[in-house]
Amino acid sequence: MALLEIKNLHASVAGREILRGIDLVMEAGEVHAIMGPNGSGKSTLAQVLAGRDTYEVTEGEILYDGKNLLELDPEERAREGVFMAFQYPVEIPGISNSYFLRAALNAVRKHRGLEELDAMDFLALAREKLKLLDMDPTFLNRAVNVGFSGGEKKRNEILQMAVLEPRLAILDETDSGLDIDALKIVANGVNAMRAPERAILVVTHYQRLLNYIVPDRVHVLAGGRIVRSGDARLAEELELSGYASLEAEVAA
């Protein structure tokens, strides 16, 4: 059974249809990339998977591990192992990163029937994950994303992913705005998470990230549909030809 199966997914926001029939199958252990021009629906797809309620699914279904994902609230999805790294991580003054991460981890652990971690055990775990992302331990004491640089915010997303160990991770343009050093750190963090039981969906506008996270499959999204799928070479091809030719193809 596929870990994720999206069938004929249509979604709209404020009455405007953005996704117009997406079909996608991901097996555990795979890394897929979704590429496409601005406005093609990439981020919408990521948000719909995470359960944001501003998007209305009008048709189609999403099966995650055989379950109807669309029936689950965002927190239920997260506890079942779905994780989305935000394109624009939210700043939350007044809540420390460590408190937030521990609350999230314990919610997930509780759901999985595992014992909740106390502050000490959590700290030990978090420090290990921080090393992976070349992050300073003081990150934990700072308020969630408040005053973080763009790169720090993205690393913080990957840190959350590393702590929560999801089965399906969706990276929503995690590479945008990163300099090459930050990009490599983020890519290393993601690569360290590749595992036979986990699927990773990388949503990106640029091929650059895929030099460091080599996907098993690449899908090109345009006009709310997947217009082409292929292996990693498709990304390179796109880098040369650009999205313009594709959009012309869709319009035709």
């Binding site: 994780f83 939350i92 007044g94 937030f100 999230a104 929560l164």
Partner: protein
């Protein structure tokens, strides 16, 4: 110098002439005390029944490792109070106080202009007196606890406190108001006199029963180079008015913090006046409010910068979080600036819980209810962070967490 008795009879006349304020008076525009004014209050001292189990338990929860004076229904309770005070500190009931008390008592709080202050000044039977000698650094906080017991009829007590901090002394002071019952009124007046260079860290915890009225004025006289911080936490009461007035002399600095958390049909009114009387003073003010259900709130922050008070630096901020559509807040800054070389800023915000933040937290597995609790507590966080007394900060954190947890349920 006027005798105290003379002041008290003037106060009685003032109260008799003025009567209770009405919303026609600008300072009372958003707070109507009619529900209180129509009650016929008996003096609490006479209706008092002593502490019941519930209040005993509450009293046991209040305490931050400090020295304390406890009053029950306006009467001093020596069996609940600290008997032996450290060197350099004189403390006890006003009824047995010394000459310093007589020199200062009722000299600062504005009984000529303020009906409730006049009423208290005319009517208080006892109260707390604390004097910290010059140069004394008192490590333990001093807790002044005023409890009201369940009386069965409307009763009023007039808690009165006088705190004198000597030259270059240091003091942490916690006023606590708590009680059980409906239609009781605590009408409190506190005068704090801080001599040159004193450091005063003051907290007022208003934890009255949600059936109670509380009206209180804290009047602070801050001499040259005094470092004053006050923090007014209001959680209880059905109709509450808190005033914190401070007069700052040369180079004095004041930090005024406040947090009010109300729900149901509670009404809370915070009024502060910072009077920069002399040059080089600073005041930094942050009041935050969390209002749920049909609760209502008022924030009125007045900053006066008198003509000699050049180089004053004053900043005032009021932020409010409304958890329901019916909750109301009226926020009103008031600046009176007579000096020309000053910096004065003010700002107010009113907002709701950020939906983006809720989605962010829930997308990580945190339940929506817990996410709301976390974000509500987070809103109060910067006030809690400013509470310097660690045991009190932890206590407040737990108390608020409990409160939001109950609310969200």
């Amino acid at each position: 110098m006027k005798q105290l008795e003379e002041i008290r009879s003037e106060a009685a006349r003032s109260f008799a002439e003025r009567g209770f304020p009405t919303p026609r008076q600008e300072e009372w525009r958003f707070t109507n005390v009619a529900p209180l004014a129509k009650l016929n209050f008996a003096p609490a001292e006479e209706a008092a029944r002593g502490l019941d189990e519930e209040l005993r338990a509450e009293l046991a929860r209040l305490g931050w490792g400090g020295l304390r004076l406890v009053f029950v229904d306006g009467r001093f309770a020596p069996e609940l109070s600290t008997a032996k005070w450290p060197r350099g500190v004189t403390a006890g009931p006003l009824s047995g106080a010394n000459g310093t008390a007589a020199r200062h008592l009722a000299r600062y709080a504005p009984y000529q202009e303020h009906a409730f202050v006049a009423w208290n000044t005319a009517s208080f039977r006892d109260g707390a007196f604390v004097e910290v000698a010059a140069g004394t650094v008192l490590e333990e906080p001093v807790e002044l606890v005023y409890l009201s017991t369940r009386a069965g009829v409307p009763v009023v007590s007039h808690p009165r406190s006088l705190v004198v901090a000597g030259r270059a002394s240091q003091l942490t002071l916690i006023e606590v108001y708590a009680g059980r019952g409906t239609d009781y009124l605590s009408n409190a007046v506190t005068e704090i006199v801080a001599a040159e260079g004193a450091v005063v860290d003051h907290y007022k915890l208003e934890l009255e029963d949600t059936g109670a009225f509380h009206v209180g004025t804290v009047q602070v006289q801050a001499a040259r180079d005094v470092n004053l911080s006050t923090c007014a936490i209001s959680l209880g009461g059905k109709l509450v008015r808190n005033e914190v007035n401070s007069v700052l002399q040369q180079g004095a600095s004041a930090t005024l913090n406040g947090l009010y958390v109300v729900s149901g049909t509670q009404h809370i009114d915070n009024r502060t006046v910072v009077d920069h009387a002399e040059p080089n003073g600073t005041s930094f003010e942050l009041y935050k409010g969390i209002l749920d259900d049909r609760a209502s709130g008022v924030f009125n922050g007045k900053i006066v910068v008198r003509q000699p008070a050049q180089k004053t630096d004053a900043k005032q901020t009021n932020k409010n979080l409304l958890l329901s559509k019916e909750a109301v807040i009226n926020t009103k800054p008031e600046l009176r600036i007579f000096a020309d070389d000053v910096r004065c800023t003010h700002g107010a915000t009113i907002g709701q819980i950020d939906r983006e933040a809720i989605f962010y937290l829930t997308s990580r597995g945190i339940g929506e209810r817990q996410a709301r609790e976390l974000l509500t507590l987070a809103f109060a966080r910067d006030i809690l962070d400013r509470v310097r007394l660690e045991p009190l900060r932890a206590w407040l954190d737990a108390r608020l967490w409990e409160k939001f947890h109950d609310r969200a349920g």
